[in-house]
């Protein structure tokens, strides 16, 4: 108790130190995360300069956010898989399979097979529900074989990689299933599948309130126990930085306007006379991005604040210790895979809705992007280490590289080469820093 109070006295009135490290330590910001945000800033500014000012525009950033969301949603689950010392190579094929199934539900089974017709109000939710339940079941089955069957996860999910892709062709002999239900399509984003400006500002305001509440209440809890707490200025810095990021993001999304053709049609339908220069309708945060934000929050909560997450991390740190601690290791592994299946289903909905179709190569190579995102985000293949937010940032880094290279007119093989080099370099750098920090 005396120790705690003395620490508090020492920190609470210290002015912000010159050293970045002590500054980060008192704000309790993860240094690895801060490093990634720094790297992302360098990438963004680099592309902006090289592309002659095309990268940091509302239009490009809005597209970047939508393009990142599908991989990022799955990466939040892949983190837990890798943390538990496993791998899932099947996510790309499973995404294709689940996307196909959801497309069949809304384009064939409900309207034709059951004879209920198209565009029913319940169509989108039934399709999504079928996908999520099936995803959880398939993921859980793979996890069951890993945990109880004693087959290495690499093998089980390599089998899944082949099986789920193969089943797509059994479904529809390689046909494209289209179009999707109109409500379902909104999940994919686009001008209509976005919040608009008022909704986006409300979401931003809620995010800031939640952020402030989380930081302050955690400090209050620690103070109640007499533990050392973050100094007030550090709390204020965290809240201010977080709020600035939220407001900046909302501002960018609201400054991307509907394409002129769509705006004109909208004006015609509503009988609005278009002003000179066209109607400027703010797009706002796209639904898939909103889904990603929700998934990130839920997954972070599960990973850090629930027994489930604590078990996953302890299994990754020392499976024997977890077992001896009385943790049901096998059941936990099954749950991790079931959760991965649910996230794959959500991403499958985002991708099919965005395409407004299910095609046979849906999700091809996604497993590699998802694993790369998790690993660039600081997840260690040795197990036990990795964060959900890191994986999301990893997905954004990857997508930034791809989208920047498109702006610079790099061809697709060159993009692959660059992403490959960045992947290896990022992990190498991480390993180097980790070794230095433990010394």
């Amino acid at each position: 108790m005396t120790e705690a109070t003395s620490v508090r006295q020492r920190t609470s009135d210290t002015p912000p130190s010159r050293s970045i490290r002590t500054f980060l330590a008192s704000t309790e910001i993860d240094t690895r995360l801060a490093g990634m945000i720094g790297a992302l800033a360098v990438i963004w500014i680099g592309f902006h300069v090289m592309s002659g000012g095309l990268f940091l525009t509302p239009r490009n950033l809005w597209n970047l956010s939508v393009q990142s969301s599908s991989i990022a949603i799955m990466a939040t689950g892949m983190v837990l898989i890798i943390v538990s010392r496993n791998i899932d190579l099947s996510v790309g094929s499973l995404l294709g399979f689940l996307g196909y199934t959801m497309a069949m539900v809304q384009a064939i089974w409900i309207p034709t097979t059951l004879g209920l017709g198209f565009e029913q109000p319940y169509t989108w939710i039934v399709a999504l529900g079928v996908g999520i339940v099936l995803g959880a079941a398939i993921g859980g089955l793979q996890g069951f074989i890993v945990a109880y069957g004693g087959v290495p996860s690499f093998i089980v999910t390599l089998g899944g990689f082949l099986i789920w892709r193969g089943l797509i062709f059994r479904y529809a002999q390689g046909q494209t299933i289209a179009p999707m239900d109109a409500t379902y399509s909104l999940i994919g984003g686009g001008p209509l599948g976005s919040l608009g400006d008022t909704g986006s500002w409300i979401v931003g305001a809620v995010a800031i309130v939640v952020l402030a509440w989380t930081v302050i209440s955690s400090n209050r809890r620690r103070r109640a126990y007499g533990f050392p707490v973050r100094p007030t200025w550090a709390m204020a810095t965290v809240i201010a930085a977080g709020s600035a990021a939220v407001l900046g993001f909302v501002w960018v999304a609201n400054n991307y306007f509907w394409p002129p053709a769509l705006a004109t049609r909208y004006a015609l339908e509503r009988g609005i006379t278009e002003p000179a220069g066209g109607l400027q309708i703010p797009t706002g945060i796209a639904y898939p991005v909103l889904i990603l934000i929700g998934v990130t929050l839920v997954m972070t909560y599960l990973a850090t604040r629930r027994r489930f997450g604590r078990y996953v991390y302890s299994i990754g740190g020392n499976p024997e210790a977890a077992e001896l601690g009385g943790i049901n290791v096998r059941r936990t592994i099954v749950r991790v895979y079931a959760l991965m299946g649910i996230l794959v289903a959500i991403s499958a909905a985002v991708q099919t809705a965005r395409l407004d179709a299910a095609v046979t190569n849906l999700g091809v190579q996604n497993e590699l992007d998802v694993i790369a995102a998790a690993v660039i985000g600081g997840t260690s293949f040795a197990g036990g280490i990795g964060t959900v937010t890191g994986a999301v940032l990893g997905a954004v880094v990857m997508q930034s590289l791809r989208s920047g290279m498109v702006l610079l007119r790099f061809d697709s093989p060159t993009q692959d080469i660059v992403v490959g080099i960045v992947l290896v370099a990022a992990v190498g750098l991480d390993a180097l820093l980790r070794r230095r920090s433990t010394r």
């Binding site: 809890r221 533990f227 629930r306 027994r307 020392n318 943790i327």
Partner: protein
């Protein structure tokens, strides 16, 4: 101490464990009373750790019976053992290196609030309380235990066993990784816990440790118990003869005893 009329806290009867065709533990019977320390000694591979893993639920026995307070109990996993008040400090410590001390202390028994959310502050508070008693110099409550010293890691493992009001404590080489000062601290702790009425099985290679702390000593040799002796009735040489030759004190000759000192 060995009041025959009292019911033993723990009785293990005819325990058998085989790995493949090899009998790691063969028809072993052993008991422990409340407030007693029973030293369990023997060479490498004698079966001490395996026998204790049976009691801690880490490895179920192939056959045999375990009684606690005279009642038959079934221990098939570590959770069973813990519900019977059996706590274990493993030789490997069994810590998850990537999480912090409070998380390790409450591993598998996390404190949560009403919504099922982990109550990290409460767990840290409890950890600080136990540590202030076991290792007052302990400061690193927020760091992964990987970055702690051997002694600090040991104290986390001990804290975990002590915090949950164990009635039966299994300590497998609790001082193997420790320096002299920390070893003395663990010895004091063992005496203190014994005085509180906890029964302790102490596995150690160090015959002097065992002689110092135990009331009785059970010697294992090739998976069997050579004998259980009352510490005050034997010499270290006699126990050494049991460990090395597998012979009970009556069976060993003066010449063989002398040969031990070669």
């Amino acid at each position: 101490m060995n009041d025959v009329a009292r019911t033993p806290l723990v009785e293990m009867r005819d325990i058998r464990v085989a790995f493949g065709g090899v009998h790691a533990v063969e028809d072993v019977s052993i008991d422990l009373f409340a407030g007693e320390v029973v030293g369990l000694v023997g060479g490498n591979g004698a079966g001490k750790s395996t026998l204790m893993r049976v009691l801690s639920g880490a490895h179920p026995a192939d056959s045999g019976e375990i009684r606690i307070d005279g009642r038959h109990v079934s221990i098939t996993n570590p959770r069973d053992a813990k519900t019977h008040g059996i706590e274990t400090i493993y030789q490997t410590l069994a810590l998850a290196d990537n999480i912090d001390a409070p998380a390790n202390l409450f591993l598998g028994r996390e404190l949560t609030d009403r919504t099922g959310t982990l109550d990290d502050a409460a767990m840290e508070s409890a950890t600080r309380k136990v540590m202030s008693r076991l290792n007052p110099n302990f400061r690193n409550f927020k760091q992964a235990v990987k970055s702690l010293s051997g002694g600090q890691r040991q104290s986390v493992a001990i804290a975990r066993a002590v915090h949950f009001n164990a009635r039966i404590l299994i300590m497998d080489e609790p001082t193997a990784a420790l320096g002299p000062a920390e070893t003395a601290q663990v010895r004091d702790l063992i005496r203190q816990l014994k005085a509180e009425g906890i029964g302790i099985f102490l596995i150690s290679h160090d015959i002097h440790d065992v002689f110092d702390l135990s009331d009785r000593i059970s010697v294992m040799y090739h998976g069997k118990v050579v004998g259980t002796v009352i510490k005050s009735e034997v010499t270290t040489d006699e126990v050494l003869a049991m460990i090395i030759m597998g012979k009970a004190p009556g069976e060993v000759t003066e010449r063989e005893l002398a040969a031990l000192h070669g």
